[in-house]
């Protein structure tokens, strides 16, 4: 299994541009998450999904959108890139039975995004 795969690994955007960060997992996990990690800070939850067709906001959702059309894929969309969105973005997935998740989240290796 590849686990959680994120693309691209690096990207530089100009202010106002848009892009989609891709995330796919092959572990048949129902839960998926997007985090951002700023220097010297912990991970902040942007959006999450408990299953295909269901998404919900996390702690810092402004400026981002997500969709979950399949179990495997959970893309993160930036519509109008701003310098404050310069960060490292991590996608994660986990399995939960009956709503209460006692399984750890598995992470991808991140997308390093710079907005100039």
């Amino acid at each position: 299994n590849a686990g959680v795969t994120q693309t691209p690994k690096f990207r530089i955007l100009k202010i106002g541009q848009s892009m989609t960060l891709q995330c796919t997992q092959d572990m048949n996990h129902n839960y998926m998450y997007w985090y951002r990690q700023d220097p010297g800070m912990g991970l902040k939850l942007i959006y999450y999904s408990v299953g295909a067709g269901i998404t919900d906001k996390g702690e810092v959702p402004n400026g981002y959108n997500v969709s979950r059309s399949t179990t495997e894929d959970f893309p993160l969309r930036l519509e109008l890139a701003a310098p404050s969105q310069t960060s490292v973005y991590f996608c994660a997935s986990s399995y939960s039975a009956r709503g209460r998740n006692n399984q750890p989240q598995h992470f991808g290796d991140g997308t390093r995004l710079s907005i100039l």
Binding site: M41, G42, V50, G99, R100, D109
Partner: protein, 114 residues
Amino acid sequence: GESVGLHLPTLSVQEGDNSIINCAYSNSASDYFIWYKQESGKGPQFIIDIRSNMDKRQGQRVTVLLNKTVKHLSLQIAATQPGDSAVYFCAERGPMEYGNKLVFGAGTILRVKS
């Protein structure tokens, strides 16, 4: 609100010594805790977890201790090796009404001196 913090941002240990990384959490209703290791340029990697109905759990060379009285979590690494050098994060999961979301601490840098 919920918060998870680490006491020591950087820990330097000699190769072969034991390491102890500490974490304080604020939500007494949190019921699940995880330690992650993050190497440079990589995503967080699961190390060990513990549920709130336990106070100790052991893995291979690692032990997690949970003290619910003072809301403290620690990660002990035995016989620390150069490959253990990384940033270590603790994370807590809040009560049912918060769903399955984790709250992460800022991290502790572990440096192993040879």
